[in-house]
Symmetry: none
C-alpha cells in the first residue's frame, strides 16, 4: 500500500532532479520513472508527455513571476499617472530603497529549483525562451516610462531597440544572480551594488548626470 497516491509526487520529484541534472532535452523519461520507482505507463497516466511533465513543474512558478512583475509595473505606472514628476525626479528604481527588488529576490529564491529549471534547463521545451516574455513586459513598461521622461526633458525618444536591449540585460542580470549565487543571503548582500549599477545606466542614458 505504500506510495499509493503519492506516485505523482514521486514522479515530479524525480523529474525535477533529472531535469536539473541534464536539462530538458537530455533528460530521459525512462530514467525519471526508474528513479521514482515507477513504470513509464504510470507517468503517462498523469502527464500527457515529456513537455507536460516539465510544464507541471515550472508553469505555476512562472505565472507567478509574470503576475508579480505585472503587478509591480502597474503599481509604478499608477504612481506616475498620479504624479508625472515621479519618473523624472526619482528615475526608475533609482532611490536607495530596494525594497521591491528584495521582495523579488525573496520570491525567486523561494522557488530556487523551479527558477533554475526555467532559466537554464529548459532548452528544447516550450519554455526555452521564457525569459523573453519577462523581457517583453519589462520592455513595455520601460517604453512608457521612457516616453514620459523624454517628453519632460525635451529629449528625442530613446530608440525602442535600445529599450528592448536594456530590458533584456536587466532580466538576464537578475537571472544570472539567481543561477550563480546559491543562497538568498549572499544574493541580498550583492543586490544593492547590482541595483546601483543597473540604475546608473539609466542615469547616464537620460543625462541625469
Amino acid at each position: 500500500m505504500e506510495g499509493e497516491k503519492e506516485t505523482k509526487e514521486k514522479l515530479l520529484k524525480s523529474a525535477k532532479a533529472e531535469f536539473m541534472e541534464k536539462g530538458y532535452a537530455a533528460a530521459s523519461l525512462r530514467s525519471i520513472c526508474k528513479n521514482a520507482g515507477v513504470t513509464t505507463g504510470a507517468l503517462y497516466f498523469f502527464f500527457k508527455d515529456k513537455e507536460d511533465l516539465f510544464e507541471s513543474l515550472v508553469k505555476e512558478p512562472f505565472q507567478n513571476i509574470l503576475s508579480m512583475m505585472e503587478e509591480h509595473y502597474n503599481l509604478e505606472a499608477e504612481q506616475i499617472e498620479e504624479n508625472e514628476d515621479y519618473a523624472v525626479a526619482e528615475d526608475i528604481e533609482t532611490s536607495d530603497d530596494f525594497t521591491s527588488s528584495v521582495n523579488a529576490i525573496k520570491f525567486l529564491y523561494a522557488h530556487y529549483d523551479e527558477m533554475n529549471l526555467l532559466i537554464v534547463k529548459s532548452q528544447g521545451s516550450k519554455f526555452s525562451n521564457c525569459l523573453d516574455e519577462l523581457v517583453r513586459i519589462t520592455e513595455k513598461h520601460y517604453a512608457r516610462l521612457s516616453e514620459i521622461i523624454c517628453k519632460k526633458k525635451n529629449m528625442p525618444n530613446v530608440d525602442e531597440r535600445v529599450i528592448h536591449w536594456i530590458s533584456h540585460v536587466q532580466i538576464e542580470a537578475f537571472a544570472y544572480l539567481l543561477t550563480h549565487v546559491d543562497s538568498e543571503e549572499k544574493a541580498e548582500k550583492i543586490l544593492p551594488h547590482i541595483m546601483k549599477y543597473l540604475t546608473g545606466g539609466w542615469y547616464k542614458l537620460y543625462d541625469f548626470i
Copy 2:
C-alpha cells in the same frame, strides 16, 4: 565529376545550417550528410566526430575573440600603468569615443553565424560554456581596474562577486546584441546608447556622480 573536391565545404555548410537550426545536441549527422548530398562515411573521413565537426566551424573565430579581448585589455592596462589617473579620470571606456567597441562589433558581425553558433547553439558541445571564458578574462581585467580606482578614491574594494557579476552582464549584453540584432548597421546605431548605459553603471558604482 560535379562537386569533386568541395565535399568538405558542402559538409561544413550543411553542418552550419543544421547546427543553426537545431543546436548542437539536437543536430543530426545523418541529416547533415543528406543535405550535403554525401554519405555518412564521407563525413567521418573529414571529421573525427560530431564534436570535431562543430569545432571546425567555431574554434578559430572563438580563439580570435579571445585574442582580441586580451589584446584590448592589455592595451588598456598599459595605459593605466603609464598614467594611473587614467582610470579615475576617464573611467573605463567612459569617453564618448567607442572606437574599440565598434571594432569589436565589426569583428563579431564578420563572423555572425559562428558567433551565434557559439553563443546560442553550442549546448551539449564543449563550447557550452564558452562565454564563461570571456567573462573570466573580463573579470580579471576589471578586478585590476577596480582596485586602482578604489585606492585612489579611498573606497573599500568592491566585492569580487560584484565584479564577476558585472563582467558577466557586460559579456551577455554584447552577446545579446549580436544574437538579436541581425545586421551590423543596426547594431552600430544602438551601440553608443549601450555603451552609455554600461559605463553609466560604473559611474554610479564608484560614486562618480
Copy 3:
C-alpha cells in the same frame, strides 16, 4: 495474441542460435531480434545490453560447473586429510572408478549448448577466458596434492608451471570432448580411455611406474 509472454524466451532462443552460429563478437542483435520476430527495443526491455543477453544464457551453467568442481575437489581434499596415504596409493583419480567423471560429463551434456557457448563462442565477451577460472581451481587443487605426494616420496616438488600446464591440458581435454563429441552416449564410451590417458600422465610424472 500469439507469442504474448514468450517474447523473452523467443529472444533467448534466437540469441542462442545466433551466438552458436557466429560467436559472441560477430553476432548481430539486429539479426537476433529479426529471427525472434521482435523489434530491437523489445530486446533492450529484457536485457541491459549484448553482454547481458549472453550472460543470461551462460552465467548460471557456468556457476554450476564452478560449484561442482569446487565441491568435487573439496571432497577429495577431505579424503586426503583423513588418510594421507590416499593420494600416494591411488593417485588422483587413478582408480578405474570414474563415477565422478561420468557425473561431470552428464552435467556438461545436460547443458550442451551453453557449454559450447562458453567454451568456443564466448570470444569478445567477459566469458572469453572462462576456462582459465576452471584451470585456476584445478591448479590449486593439484598443487596441494602434488606437494603431499612429493613429500611422501621424498621427491623435489614439481614445478608449479608444470602443474599449471597439466591443469590446463586436463580442462582443455574435457572441453574438447564436449565440443567435438555431440552426444553423451558417445562421450561416455570414450571417457574411460581418456581418463586412463590422463591419469597415466600423472603416474609417469611421479615415477609410479
Copy 4:
C-alpha cells in the same frame, strides 16, 4: 623518397602488431594503415583483402610446421617399417631423449609471433581452425602406430575417436606451452616434464605398466 619500396614491409609489420593486439576479426585495416603511415589504397595494392593480408603473415610459417610434422612422422614411420618392434619397445617418444621435441620447440619459438597469430589470434579468418589440420596429420600417424602396437600386443584396436582426442590434446598441449610461456628457455625447462606426462598417457593406454 624514403620508404619507397618498403611500404609492404611497413604494412606487414603494422598488421602483425594490430592482429596481435586485437585478433583477426577485431583488427581494423584503417588502424593498420595509419600506424604504417600509409593510406588504405596502398594496402589494397599489395593485398587482395583483409584475409590476404593475414595470410601473408602466417601462411608460410604454417606450411613449415606442416612440413616439419609430416617429415617427422614419416621418419618415424620408416623406422617402424624397418623394425616393427620399435613402436612396441620404445613407444612413441617414450625414450628420455626429447631431441625432436626440442627441435620442434626451437622452430616454434623462432616464429613466436606468427605462431601466436595462428593459434590465438586467427578467429574469424580462414585459419580459425588451423590446429585441426595439425591434429589430422598427427591423428593419421598415431592411428598407424596404434594399429601396429595393438597387433603386436594382441589387443583390440583403440577406438579411432580416442586416437583423435589424444592427438588433439597433444597439439593443444604444445600450443598452450607456446602461447603461455614467453621464452624458449623457460619452455625448454618445462618440456621434459610435459613429455613425460604426455608419454605417460600412452603407457597407461596400452597397458605398458
